[in-house]
Each structure stands twice: as structure tokens, then as C-alpha cells.
Amino acid sequence: MGSREDMVSREVVVGMPQGLHARPADQLAREARKWQSRIELLNDTQRVDGKSILEVLTLAAEAGTRLIVEATGPDAHEALEAIGVLFDRNFNEQENTEGR
């Protein structure tokens, strides 16, 4: 049948000094929504839907926090790769740090 349910996961670290705040949460949810797979983020106590900004914000993940990203579905590998890249690049946060 066509419904392969691959599950893949990897650890990511929140590298942005401001933590996983509204803007990266928005970027994350936008990216996650591009994929068919279910995307979930896990910390020590919670498992949340990566396609919902509201859910992602409940993690209150500060700089240095380690999270597990889990993707389940037909495009799980590609989805996990894409989400991982966002974290690896710190959501391109440096360019936009408002100084003063």
C-alpha cells in the first residue's frame, strides 16, 4: 500500500541567543507545514506539534536547549532534513538581531 509510515528523529540545539521565540517558531511551523509527515518536537516533559506556532511556543526553549525533532510519514526523511537545517543555521537569526 502507499502509506509508508517512516519515523525518523534527530537532536537539535536551540542556538539563538533569544531562544525559540515567535519568529523562529513561525519559520519552523511554516517549514513543517510544507511536508505531509507529522512533525513533533520533544523536550524533557512535552511533545508538541511542529506545525503549530502556538504549540512550539509552549516549549519556551531558551538558548542552549536540546530538543528532539521527530518526523513520521511518507516524506519523513526530507522533512527532518529541512527542519534540521533551520536549527543548524539558527533560523538565520544573526542578520536580524536588533542591536541597541
Binding site: 541567543p17 531562544g19 525559540l20 521565540h21 506556532i53 509552549t58
Partner: protein
């Protein structure tokens, strides 16, 4: 963090008049000035900073909720307020829904943790659809204040 830790009760608005993103932000910021939470002299600079942040990406986080915010050196602690628009305002949210519920936050530049915990509190409480609906249908600022207090007292154990 609880709502009572950052929401300026006197600045709560149950009926926002503005129909645009900037209009709502101006009304809410003015409410914070009127409530004495921020100085009148900083009004324009805070509005501009919040609008600049919106340019980086909408703070409409879905379910008819937006959290316009900025860091600003004029505040020494996190201040915020809540407003409701009964007609809804286009905020370019991820889910495309008009926004009826606004939480505006102004935080000191050196306290990113407080800002995150305020966002966490707001988003955690708003997962409760009943709470969302009750806030949106509040008749006056006092109703909103009571709903927030109730949420604060329930939220402890989650």
C-alpha cells in the same frame, strides 16, 4: 510566568476600534501610556519598533491570536496588555485567519528568558479553546481581567 506578572490591568481593551495592524498596535501602546506602564515620550519609538518586528514576519500565531512585541530599552521589566477586536483584523497570520485577540509585549533588551516565558504562558493558556472563546466574547475589560486571573490560578498545575 502568569498573566498577572506582565499584563497591565488598566491597559486591557475589550473593544479595539482600529481595523488595521498598525492601528491596533497604536491603540494598545496608547493604553499602556494611559495606564502609566510606559512613558508618553516613548510611545512613537515603541510603536515603530513593534511595526519593525512585524516586518520580519507576522506575530499572528494562529487561532485568531497575535502577539505583537518588541524589546525596548525604556522598560525595566516586561510590560504587556491584552485587547480584543470583535470584527477581527488582518494580521497576515500563518493560518490566514483574522485576529481577534492581541497580546502586546514590551520587554527589556536583556531579558529574553522573561519574554519566552510570557509567550509560553500565552500560548499554553490559549490551547484551551474555551478560554480563547471567552476572551473573544468578553463584554468589558473587567471580564478579561477575571478570565486572566482564573487562568493564572488554574495554570499552576499544568
Amino acid at each position: 510566568m502568569k498573566f498577572s506578572d506582565f499584563v497591565a490591568t488598566d491597559a486591557i481593551r475589550s473593544h479595539v476600534d482600529a481595523g488595521t495592524k498598525e492601528g491596533v498596535i497604536r491603540e494598545m501602546t496608547q493604553s499602556l501610556v494611559n495606564a502609566g506602564s510606559i512613558a508618553a515620550a516613548d510611545y512613537e519609538s515603541i510603536v515603530k519598533a513593534i511595526m519593525k518586528r512585524e516586518d520580519l514576519g507576522s506575530t499572528g500565531i494562529g487561532r485568531g491570536v497575535a502577539v505583537p512585541h518588541t524589546k525596548h530599552p525604556s522598560v525595566s521589566r516586561l510590560v504587556g496588555t491584552v485587547a480584543v477586536s470583535h470584527s477581527g483584523v488582518d494580521f497576515e497570520s500563518l493560518d490566514g485567519e483574522p485576529v481577534q485577540l492581541f497580546f502586546l509585549l514590551v520587554s527589556p533588551p536583556d531579558r529574553p528568558g522573561d519574554h519566552l516565558r510570557a509567550l509560553e504562558n500565552i500560548s499554553r493558556q490559549l490551547r484551551d479553546e474555551t478560554f480563547c472563546r471567552q476572551l473573544k466574547s468578553a463584554k468589558g475589560p473587567v471580564d478579561i481581567q477575571h478570565l486572566l486571573e482564573e487562568a493564572d490560578s488554574h495554570g499552576v498545575a499544568s
